[in-house]
Each structure stands twice: as structure tokens, then as C-alpha cells.
Amino acid sequence: MRFSQAWLIARHDIGIFRHRSGVMGPLIGLPLFVGIGFPVLVDYIVRSNGTAGLGTYLPGLIDAFSFWFVIGAATLPTAIAAYAIVGEKVEKSLEPLLSTPTTDGEILLGKTLAAFVPTVLAIWAGSALFQGLIDAATRGALGYLLYPNGEMVVILFALVPLVSLYAIELCVLVSSRVTDARSAQQYASITFVPLIFLYVAGEIGFTLDTTHLLYIAAGFVVLVLALFQVSRRTFHREEILTQWK
């Protein structure tokens, strides 16, 4: 496995979808919306309610917002991966790519990186904004800095990368069965299923503290490794050329 070969493919694909508003819109829009929109809302609440009682419910409310970064990690890469794999399949450019001296693993890694790197960077950038602005808005009311904290570290450096890998792998699996990028994205939206459980758990009062988040991350590690085995088998030269529809 030559990383340089995979990275060449990733850079090429990023160069292509950079000009697609369908991919770039959400990739820039969602982190900006969460990173600026939510702090503005919090700022409004703080200003209109004064400081009384804020310390008890505000941190919980804000943690619910940070869950949006995980949702971003599940949804943003599917648009890219759907383009990079199904898009190439539709344009028939996978066959020429496969006839270069590149291994299946290098191509798969390249396509994965093309979706993974921009997603994670965009979410990290959005979260930096989010944390800075939330601190600025709440510091006076709470009397301490809410961010950075352990939960956010686990979310950004464990959950976000893992969930986006999980979403990309699902997309690879779906790619072999669908004939256009849009339906690939629709199928891949089952990435939401485990997230809904997490969301519901949070809503019914199950606190998602650092320890719980780490358990969830460990669960995703298992899921990602299992899916990797299957997607590796799907993304096989012979399969792509003779079995993919």
C-alpha cells in the first residue's frame, strides 16, 4: 500500500468536487450554522434571561448542540463519497483508473480520504468557532469557561472521525448496488440509525459524559473495523468491473 498513490487520488477527487455546490454547500454551511448560529442563540438566551439559574440548565443545552457535529460527521462525507465512487462509476472513469498500476486498496483509501479529510477539517473548524463563541457568550453568566472540555475532546477526536469513516464505508457498500449518486446518498442515510439511539438516550436523561462517550466511540471502532472488511471485499477490481450494476 503506497500512501502517496492514495493521496494523489484523494487530491484529484477533492479538486473535482470543490466546484460542486451540492457538496460544498453543506460542507461549509453546516459547520458555519452550528458554529455561529447556536452561539448566537445562546447569547440571546443569556441576554434575555439574565444570569439567574443559567448555571443549571445551560451546559446541558449546549452539549445537545455539540451533538450536531456528530450528525455532520455522519452526513457530510456521504455526498463526497457518493460522488467519488458512484459518480465515477456513472462516468465510467473507474475502469481507466483500475487499469493504472494502482491497487484496489490504494484506490479505496484515496476515495475514503477524499471524503474523510475535508469533512473532519470542516467540522473541526466549525467547532473551534462554536467553542470560542459559546465561551464568549456564557463566560459572564457561568463564571467559568465551558470549553474546551473532556466531552468535546472525545466528540471531536474520537466520535467525529469514527462516525465519518462509518458513513463512508456504508457509502462504499451501497455504491455497488445503485446507479446514481443521489440514491447512494439516500441509502447511506441509514448512518442515522445508531445516532438516533444516542439522541434518544440523551433526551430521556441518560447523561452523555466523557466515559459514556468513550464507550460509544469504542462501539464505533468495532463497527468501523467490521464494515471495513466488507467494503474492502466490495471494492475489488473484478467485482467492480463485472458485478457492479
Binding site: Q5, E91, S93, E238
Partner: protein, 310 residues
């Protein structure tokens, strides 16, 4: 350059390519002819190490099909034009070629030189920065051929390079292939176009799941279809044909316009007899000539005989 023995590919119960044994020499332009579904694309994909073979073996560009490491070496040394061009439409011709050159790990200077030479040869240098989506089908085909050549492969597979092109674009592409032939590259050309094969290829193979015949076009023409002598006459008539048949003691005489077509095995020996018979039957000969069968006749004969088999 290519040496295949008993190469076979089955998809489930369907045998797509059956026991092909074939050699293609260095610098040779080999035409692979066959009707739709004959297995041409499947054969090229096997030889290009894109799909596995069910049985048999093959050596391509010095490496044996089968191991992952050798197949990587094979793909380093060959260029493939698939049956679908598969270019990146939103990027330019230059960028399309550059990407493939880099996937082949070419040195940047050599890559630039090659791209310039190839796009120049294809008459596309002026348009190198336009997105490929603005190109006509023929132009796209030429970009795809240039892409297959960008890393200077020793062996080039072209899968129906002129299919779906209008006559002018097809001619353009054929000229490019002839140009490549002058550069002494080994070319494996899949085509349904017999005329094209006849004009470009040193040897052809006729495929219909099995390889039915291989050889230079001339040899196939003289070896596989009937030879005939054409006698152009001032006037033909039923009575004349009957008389000629009787004298030559054969039924192989046919009228076509003002000509009699007589089946022959050995023209040198039989033509004088034919002339005598026609004259004796009262015919006045204007011209006597040999009709060699076209490649098309050979092809149709082989492909149809195959159909007739159980």
C-alpha cells in the same frame, strides 16, 4: 509481447471466452474481430490484468497473469482504451492526462513533454485547457487514446476505438492509429469494422467465444473463402451458362450482371480451361480476372459456420 494459452473466462454458467491460444509479436498491430458478445472486451480485460481468468495462462509484456505483484507490473507497461472513454468531464484534457501520468508515477518533466507531444499529435494542443465536456465524441476518443499512451506503454489495448464515431471522426482516429503503428508500438485492436482491420492490422484473429482463425488478412482471404474467376462477357445467356457448366463439369458457375463467376481451386491451371470452355460455348470474353474474397466474406463464413454448429 502477448502469449496466451487456453485462456478461458466463465461468468457463472456462461462461457464468455473459451480456450484462446494466441501470440502477438513485438511491434505488431493485431486486430481482434468478432460479433457483439464474442468476448473481445472480456479477453482484453483478462490480458490487461483487470479481471481474473477462469483457466489457462498468459504472459503479457513479460509478466505472467495471476500474481498481484506481476499484474501491477503488467498495468505499468500497458495502455488501455476501454470501450467507454471514461474521462473526467469537468477537468481539462491536460489535467486528464496529467492525472494518469502521475498515477503511473512519471517524472514531471517527462510527463509534460509527453502530454505536449500527444496532444499535439491529436491536434488538441490548442484546446488543452478546455473542459473535456465541451469536446465532440471524436475529440474525447482522441483524448482517451492519448491518456492510454501518456506513460509510453509498450503495449496498447484499444477496445473499439472507432465505434460510435461518425465517418470523419473515425477516420481521424484511424489516422492516429496508423501514426502509432509507425512508432512501432504493439497494438491490440478490438473492432467490428472489417475494413478498418484490413487497412490497419498486420494480423487478425476472428473470435466467437472461441478463436476461429488467426493470420494475416491476405492469408485468411485466400485460405478461408472460395476463390473465383470472373469472366466479363459481351453478352451472357442461360444457354451459355448451361454449356459452360457442362464443359467444365461443375455447378459452380454463377451469373452476376455481365460476368460469369466460376469457382476455382487453382486459378493458374483452371483459368485457361475456363477461357476455352466459354469460347467454345460461344461467349465473347472482354476480360478475365481473379476475385479474391473480402475479409467480410471470410468473417461471415466463419461466424456463420460457427452458428450452425450445435
Amino acid at each position: 509481447m502477448i502469449h496466451a494459452e487456453g485462456l478461458t473466462k466463465r461468468f457463472g454458467s456462461l462461457t464468455a471466452v473459451d480456450q484462446i491460444t494466441l501470440d502477438v509479436g513485438d511491434g505488431e498491430v493485431f486486430g481482434f474481430l468478432g460479433p457483439n458478445g464474442a468476448g473481445k472486451t472480456t479477453t482484453v480485460r483478462m490480458l490487461a490484468a483487470l479481471i481474473s481468468r477462469t483457466s489457462g495462462r498468459a504472459e503479457v509484456a513479460g509478466y505472467e497473469l495471476g500474481s498481484e505483484a506481476d499484474e501491477l507490473k503488467i498495468r505499468e507497461r500497458i495502455g488501455v482504451l476501454p470501450d467507454n472513454v471514461g474521462l473526467y468531464d469537468s477537468t481539462s484534457a491536460y489535467q486528464n492526462l496529467e492525472y494518469f501520468g502521475r498515477l503511473h508515477r512519471m517524472d514531471p518533466t517527462a510527463l509534460r513533454t509527453n502530454i505536449e507531444r500527444l496532444l499535439g499529435m491529436m491536434d488538441l494542443w490548442e484546446k488543452k485547457d478546455l473542459p473535456v465536456s465541451t469536446f465532440s465524441k471524436g475529440m474525447k476518443q482522441k483524448v482517451a487514446i492519448a491518456r492510454a499512451l501518456v506513460h509510453d506503454p509498450v503495449l496498447l489495448f484499444l477496445d473499439e476505438p472507432t465505434a460510435n464515431l461518425d465517418p470523419e471522426a473515425a477516420k481521424m482516429v484511424r489516422e492516429v492509429i496508423l501514426e502509432l503503428k509507425k512508432e512501432n508500438r504493439t497494438i491490440f485492436l478490438n473492432t467490428h469494422n472489417l475494413d478498418e482491420a484490413q487497412r490497419i492490422c498486420d494480423r487478425v484473429g476472428i473470435l466467437r467465444t472461441r478463436l476461429l482463425a488467426v493470420g494475416p488478412v491476405e492469408t485468411l482471404r485466400s485460405g478461408f473463402a472460395r476463390k473465383r474467376t470472373a469472366v466479363r462477357l459481351e453478352r451472357t445467356s442461360e444457354a451459355l451458362v448451361a454449356a459452360v457448366k457442362q464443359r467444365l463439369r461443375t455447378d459452380g458457375v454463377e451469373v452476376s450482371g455481365d460476368r460469369l463467376l466460376v469457382d476455382v481451386d487453382d486459378p493458374a491451371r483452371e483459368n485457361p480451361e475456363i477461357a476455352e470452355a466459354v469460347v467454345a460455348a460461344g461467349g465473347r470474353i472482354l476480360e478475365l480476372s481473379q476475385v479474391s474474397p473480402s475479409l467480410e466474406e471470410v468473417y461471415l463464413k466463419l461466424v456463420h459456420e460457427e452458428t450452425a454448429l450445435p
